[in-house]
Amino acid sequence: MIVSTLPRRLAVVIVVAVIVAFLSIKLNAFRDYQIAEVAYEVTAVAGLTVLTGLSGQISLGHGAFMAIGGYTTALILLHLNWPFIAALLIAAVVTAAAGAVVGVAAARLRGPYLAGATLMLGVALPAVAYAYPATFGGDQGLNVVFTTPAFLGANFPLTRWQAWVGAAVALVTLLLLANLCYSRIGRNWRAVRDDDVAAALDGINVALARIRAFVVSATCAGVAGSLLAVITALVAPGAYTLTLSIALLTAAVIGGLGSLPGALWGSLLIILVPTYASDVATSHGLSSSVGSNIPVAAYGVILILVMLAFPQGIQGGLRRLVALFAGPMNRENEPVATPEHSEKEGSS
């Protein structure tokens, strides 16, 4: 199994990469920009879905880690002029360190207390930018210069390059996460999530497993923040509000907690629904006071519908549908046990 999964995942990654490349050339520049947006979103959501779905910890403050990644990238690009890949890696290292610090605290907290602590982080950290306007540019933030490399020619659209960079980073992150989840570390996370006492009795270092999950998850958020910075060419505290943290969690839940394909589903919804809804609202000539609230309303309706129809998220719903069509001979594979068991992707 270990021999066969990696090539399989690589094949999936290559297929998705080819589809993204095809789409980015076929679609208009704004759709390219949205592909890049989906890429940063899925990177962050994948990290969060691993944290919450696999290790059983909640974070309402992932926007803060994205802010750390974004500002690190912006400061490096602004002052040191290093290539983006270097800035991205340093942003990952810095957020990993921040994740470790928060993780140590998080390992001691559970449930609502952990939610409260991470919520505070998410609300408070972006305010640092206001406290040191000379370094972080205050409310209006820092501009990030990100251009297409010279070898692609002068006429290569920037948004297509952003889509490629974003998709590449997101796919590599997803590949690494997928491998990690099915390694010993991932199994330990699931053991800790299901019963930490039993896990400890089995010789698993519960605190270490929890901290590791936080570090991995924060790193993903940091990488996503770095992508967001170069995609919007800006880092500003207004980008990393509580709304962002909640939106990430929403995407993870809608997609299906603990599922990496689910992270992609959730991200697609979060990015595409507001634009689509506002297009519909304006093209039907609704008054602006109604039209401007349509995206928010659509978002709420979709959240409710998905949760009603697929309590396990979109990916859980798909899995159920596939199992239904696969016929009764495969019944034993259908997740029919307790909810905790059915969300355990890869319990095989």
Binding site: V16, R31, Q140, T232, S278, S289, S348
Partner: protein, 458 residues
Amino acid sequence: MNRRHRFRLSAVVAVSTAAAFTLAACSSSSSPSATGTTGATGTASAGSSTAPLTASAPGITATTITIGSHQPLTGPAAPGYSEIAPASAAYFAYVNAHGGVYGRDIDYKYLDDAYNPTQTATVVRQLVLQDNVYAIFDGLGTPTHLAVESFLNAQKVPDVFVASGCDCWDQPTTDPETFGWQLDYIREGKILGQYIAQHFKGKKVGYFYQDDEFGMDGVKGLDYEIPSSMVVSRQSYVDTNVNVAPQVAALRASGAQVVVSFSIPAFTALLKLTSLKLGFSPTLVVSNVGSDPITLSGLLESFAKQGGATVNGNSLTDGMITDSYAPSLGDASNSWIALFKKVHAQYDAKAPFDGNVLYGMGVAYTFVQAMLKAGRNPTRADLVNAINGGLQQGPLVAPYAYSMTDHDGVTGAYIGVINNGALTPEGPVLTTDTSATGAITSYTGTQPTAPASGIPAP
């Protein structure tokens, strides 16, 4: 086990294929917006030239000019400011119904950015890259518009009449596409500062300002005119934190007798209510953007209601000193007020006729003026060149600064006092520049009257 893995592979492929369809489906749905085209299609052919109308630039067809904007339709800056874009759309509808711009209809597509710079980045890219707008018009807000200024200039999209008085729009060498319109905050700070220095000699002055280019430009102008010995406290706020009690307490403790506020309307109201709560009643001098009496009165009443109190909004704004670069709303003899009132009654009657509506119509008039000057079949550069060549004074009380080397908008304002929900002008129109030493002088010219047709002459 093997089946499961095959399943996972196929699931991922299915997901990505479906993603492909979703994206493809969305990209075909960019149907044109109906906003702002409520009027009849252009029938009259304006001008003497009979050259056929062509698709001379992105966003321009033989029948339409599509322009876009980012506006705070929801979020902290929405109260008051969300009326501006519908008012502009109302004026465009009026123009469209009366022959359009050389026969073309203006299609004004404004999207909500909730006053969040990251959302601004997204919606402006949607307008430019997908909807192919000819220009970005009246993008609202300092922190928000700064997020897209360099993008628009890199794309060579005219970025006209930004709805913010930041001096940062006046950078013709680095940002040649960007133009301000309203009085910039440095000039405004100087005009308010001189008034304070002259009328409140020897009094203690406190500053209350938004912690960004908007507030800091205003403070810069104030400091040019108010001796630093008079200033006893400088307090700033961020628009995401509605608790201004610490700032107000500090102002009160400093013994300030006059408080100058460079704030958006919601925060002017919060300043007033928090002062009231703390038993602090200084003379308030408020920047134009945060002092529209009708907006303020509504905000004061609704904020007080949320806190379980009942106040009379109009009596709370009484005595507030401010400045205005547009004619007073109550001035029935002013031809511009009469014109915009007429358009308002016909196309935008649901909104109150307040300073925001006047603003939206005034800036829309200026855009039509610039488009007519740009010619029958304008390129994007033609619009920029037209404004660089200077625009005639119109709905505002002072002339514009526009030239090749100056992209600031209007250059002066008059001081006024709010009485019973209306602005009473006090003193002449004062004009000045943005330098520390530039003199503040009384404007001797007179404002031209509005054209009878309501549409600028080409």
